[in-house]
Symmetry: C3
Subunit: 259 residues, 3 copies
Amino acid sequence: MPRVITLTTDFGSGSGYVAEMKGRLLHARTPFTLVDIAHDLPAHDIRAAAWLVGQACPTFPAGTLHLAVVDPGVGTTRRLVWAEIGGQQFLCPDNGLLSWVLRRGPLAAARAIPVAATAAATFHGREVIAPAAVQLLDGTPPEALGPPVAELVRLPWPDPRETPAGIDGEVLYVDAFGNLVTNLPAKLWPLVVAAGGLRVAGHDVTTLVRTYGDAAPGTPVVLVGSQGFIEAAVVEGHAAARLGAGRGTRVAIAGGQTP
Amino acid sequence: MPRVITLTTDFGSGSGYVAEMKGRLLHARTPFTLVDIAHDLPAHDIRAAAWLVGQACPTFPAGTLHLAVVDPGVGTTRRLVWAEIGGQQFLCPDNGLLSWVLRRGPLAAARAIPVAATAAATFHGREVIAPAAVQLLDGTPPEALGPPVAELVRLPWPDPRETPAGIDGEVLYVDAFGNLVTNLPAKLWPLVVAAGGLRVAGHDVTTLVRTYGDAAPGTPVVLVGSQGFIEAAVVEGHAAARLGAGRGTRVAIAGGQTP
Amino acid sequence: MPRVITLTTDFGSGSGYVAEMKGRLLHARTPFTLVDIAHDLPAHDIRAAAWLVGQACPTFPAGTLHLAVVDPGVGTTRRLVWAEIGGQQFLCPDNGLLSWVLRRGPLAAARAIPVAATAAATFHGREVIAPAAVQLLDGTPPEALGPPVAELVRLPWPDPRETPAGIDGEVLYVDAFGNLVTNLPAKLWPLVVAAGGLRVAGHDVTTLVRTYGDAAPGTPVVLVGSQGFIEAAVVEGHAAARLGAGRGTRVAIAGGQTP
């Protein structure tokens, strides 16, 4: 039975919708720890949620139950699922939210969760997902939640591409510091070193560092970030604003070649 | 004794004021679960807080203690009260914060909480409400908190009005998706169907759906929302921005008549 | 062993970085209560964090372990430390974050925490601080964390200055209501009374009150605030916007003299 529950939604921090889900969860007889991961995700942005779930959830103890509700299709034919991946459990709509987690580990098990005819069609987080979590907390085995599911929806993830000129990638995520996390994995770092830098939104960033503080404030730098990807940053500054970049912005390693 | 404490304030997320209240609460000898409902409510906006408290708090387990501090009159003659309504407990200023909860269930009991002469006049959340919660957590019976109170301040709530042309209502709440929650209760839905739509800020919204995903992205729709009221929304869009509407905006069911 | 852990960062609410730290913390075998103090502090703003840590942390029960990560020097030569001050415990970079706490009580003990060569250089919160917290939660004595430290980095704090014309101070903190918390301690209040008001950003604020509600909405007022300092506010309004003031804005008590 899970001891820790996390919540990831696009409901807005301080939204009554988040509180309603928590209120329902706390009807469980079994004590648990409740952790908010994020509630201010861009509305309906499944990719943004999938990134966050994929990066943050694997750090939790095995058996943690992660509830993720970014659900533009709420009440339509999209399924609700329980899934186990990499020792973590998930309850969410089957709309691609687990795409990134599924790149980090295989699907160990999944179940479809039936939706009662009486459930409010616009809020399955409260009506279906929270009650399913309460069942799991109170000892219902996952297999009892519903019929098995063989495969989940997976969104295409942007892989780096080899081009005649080198390797092309893109910005996956802009953090609160304005740092640009690219889809270029850390293992490509030697190519960045060989190329003498990274091209980001038309700027050549040529100061390669080990950590943000290794150059003067204001300097655009490239480094291997904590998420396992190559990042562009501005020391004590905001790279997204400074370089005019955002999610989806092209980046390139000139002359690189995928190892 | 409560096992769950919730907090609703206009102090600002990440404000030290919220942390000071939590620090005081954690002096209780009895373990409890602390849940943030909202801290970014518009400053001094008792109505916004009353809506949130009224919608979110009833979903919590019976006996939950809800602390609500939106308190423009802090330190003046307004009372601080403990109240029990619908099996939930509340600690808050008696300034109308419980108006909406009181429309959902009668006042079962209430007590006035005395304010010590030494309490900082500008922060009764920390000086009076948190300590009263600690007393309740540690087993003090509510009757020991202070003298009984017969009635609480109730703000007038905007009820739908029947007009020669139909039924007039207004937007009560705009959520983080931009959905417009009106004060028209779900039971008026047949009238919306008969009228062929809802008039919102001068726009006739005529696509009636069961859930957001039942129309193409970008379509303005009307539906019965999860809060028990008729809502206007834009599929995967922001109705408030698209229709130029906000809290207080008039809505109307043409030709309707209160059942 | 700590029972309560607090978290103060500039990572952004809903950032995966916060979640990654929480995920690591929850690997502790010992149950604990996790409290978010703030995650939307201005990026790299050690002073803002030091203010918040200094004001909020002392309200927690003795033995609480406060994790504070505002760390522009992450991965460089700045130390990571455990410290005990006023019965509270802290884990943070030694970059001045504890400057304000240290004005409220002496350093009782401190240890330097070694950084493993394998730790990701850009995220010591996850790599070093969270694991150290887990050690403390699970019973490791603080002395086992690393070698003793005699003194911590202290940022200069702006003390009020006596001038020929009176006493000069400045705004230390603007809260979510727009209230201006100055560095003039409450004990100077008699001088404000004698001077008939406070000068704030070129405005003479002459309505002296005991609490916000003691004047008509819209009135600029001066009072002793809940943080132990003299504050300027606008009743049910936003003093920072109304008076054109912010952190660092000069304030003055005309004719005053430090007691």
